[in-house]
């Protein structure tokens, strides 16, 4: 009996908070026919918004993958003063509000900011333009690869790596032949999480982008814009595309997880 109560509580809570609202979006978007959804989705500004989202992710994800692996190796394999500090820093973007991140970048690259002047004098626009949006996204999605790689690196130990170097392998060979294959799944899982975060980022990008339609508007910003302008079906339409993207990510996460655990 108690089992059923618990089971019902858990599933009921999930349905109420998670699944029912999600199902509603689909229903809402198509309840007046697909026409308005299609006209919003084929709007050049919407198409541009999706392109921008993909472009930003295409830069941020590889960067953070590289950084995450390097950082993981540093934290686990090297003993240096301040390792604990680096470890804590990597977690920082998880704890800080995206808006605070946005404001920090705003103040750093703005007209009165530390770097703002230099860039303005050299004719490079950072704020309200592509570069600042990339920087904000990189900042926000920084921890994921590193967080996945660190425990795996700890678990596998460094015996094989040492064996490889006694057999004459140099650092790069050891990394390519021994380390990388054994942390492969952790890296892939981290990349999936990073991608999801990059696509979905709203707060930080909203602050630094300036929201210029057709120029610095990503897909998530477009959703807000459409909703505030009373194009609700359109907003739901863009949301569905984003939701489908995240379901794909979710499926990837589910498929990758057991492999990682079984290894």
């Amino acid at each position: 009996m108690r089992r059923y109560v618990l089971r019902l509580t858990a599933v009921g809570y999930l349905v109420l908070v998670l699944l029912a609202p999600l199902a509603m979006v689909f229903w809402r978007a198509f309840s007046h026919g697909g026409g308005e959804v299609w006209s919003t989705l084929s709007d050049p500004n919407t198409v541009h918004a999706f392109q921008l989202t993909v472009e930003i992710a295409a830069i941020a994800v590889p960067l953070n993958t590289f950084f995450g692996i390097v950082c993981g190796l540093l934290i686990v394999r090297r003993r240096f003063p301040g390792a604990g500090f680096v470890n804590a820093l990597v977690d920082l973007p998880l704890a800080i509000s995206p808006v605070v991140v946005g404001l920090s970048l705003f103040l750093l690259y703005g007209r009165t900011g530390w770097f703002g002047n230099w860039f303005t004098n050299h004719g490079i626009q950072i704020l309200f333009a592509f570069p600042s949006m990339v920087i904000a996204t990189v900042f926000i999605s920084l921890p994921f690869v590193c967080r996945e790689v660190v425990p795996t690196l700890r678990e596998i130990g460094d015996e094989q790596e040492q064996a490889a170097s006694t057999l004459g392998a140099n650092g790069w060979q050891t990394f390519k032949r021994i380390t990388l294959p054994s942390i492969r799944w952790a890296v892939i899982y981290g990349v999936v999480l990073t991608t999801a975060r990059c696509i979905g980022e709203y707060g930080a990008v909203a602050v630094v982008s300036g929201h210029i339609e057709g120029k610095t508007e990503t897909a998530t910003l477009r959703v807000e814009d459409a909703y505030q302008n009373f194009q609700q079906a359109g907003a739901y339409g863009i949301s569905i595309v984003l939701a489908v993207m995240s379901v794909i990510v979710l499926v990837a996460m589910t498929l990758l997880k057991p492999k990682e655990e079984a290894r």
């Binding site: 108690r2 858990a10 908070v17 804590a88 920082l92 509000s97 530390w114 807000e224």
Partner: protein, 244 residues
């Protein structure tokens, strides 16, 4: 470099006009109201998450039923779904044109539900692995010695999973304080009533009031640091038991 510099710039900007002015901006009635609302909601969200997150994790580990792996996958949905879409989803069901007749848009309840949505996975995902590894023999021993279910839970299971619950709660709390995407559409952002700290910062940047935005942002930053310390401490505690 990437992480530290912007934050240094933020702190620098907030004190550029002197500590006194920072304090007067940070303690203005509107910013205090926003911070209070954020913190209060975060506390409530943490409590609900601690209870329901543990229940969900329990059901996923100890129960067997049809569709369990689906439920398990669905838990991660709030991590994968863009937060602005999460906000919109809630509006679709619990908004002004709600098909079930519940309209919580433009209310604090709305913000609360939105925060519950985005923070759902944290406690589940931190308790689940601990619960999986928990030694069931101790529970059975306690039961055979005549302990009731409640007693078993309180003195055997809870001490084992408590670090997991707490670190999940800390993550959820941090997320609830900082969340903007899910909240911005549903809240209505009325000062003193439905304006949370993150939205306050956002609106004040757009309104050109950088000093006000920076002041509240620094307070939020301090909360984040405190939480990070707490999480670090918990992690240390958890591994200390392992080492012993």
């Amino acid at each position: 470099m990437l992480v530290v510099l912007p934050i240094a710039a933020l702190v620098w900007a907030s004190r550029a006009d002197g500590v006194g002015s920072f304090w007067s901006v940070a303690s203005s009635p509107e910013s205090v109201a926003a911070l209070k609302l954020s913190l209060g909601l975060a506390v409530l969200v943490s409590v609900v998450n601690a209870v329901f997150g543990t229940v969900i994790a329990w059901v996923l580990v100890r129960d067997e039923f049809w569709g369990k792996s689906f439920v398990n996958a669905v838990i991660d949905l709030p991590f994968a779904l863009p937060t602005i879409v999460a906000g919109l989803t809630l509006l679709a069901l619990y908004g002004p044109t709600s098909p079930v007749g519940i309209d919580i848009s433009l209310t604090r309840t709305g913000i609360f539900v939105a925060l519950l949505f985005v923070t759902l996975p944290f406690v589940v995902r931190t308790v689940q692995p601990v619960l999986l590894e928990l030694d069931r023999e101790a529970e059975e021993a306690a039961r055979s010695l005549g302990a009731g279910e409640l007693r078993v839970f309180r003195s055997i299971i809870l001490p084992g999973i408590l670090p997991g619950i707490l670190s999940g709660v800390a993550l959820a709390f941090a997320r609830a304080v900082g969340e903007i995407g899910a909240v911005v559409l549903i809240a209505g952002n009325q000062p003193f009533r439905t304006e949370v700290a993150s939205v306050f910062v956002f609106l004040h940047i757009q309104g050109g009031d950088q000093a006000g935005a920076a002041a509240v942002a620094v307070v939020m930053l301090l909360i984040s640091f405190a939480l990070l310390l707490a999480i670090g401490g918990l992690r240390y505690l958890a591994t200390r038991y392992e080492r012993a």
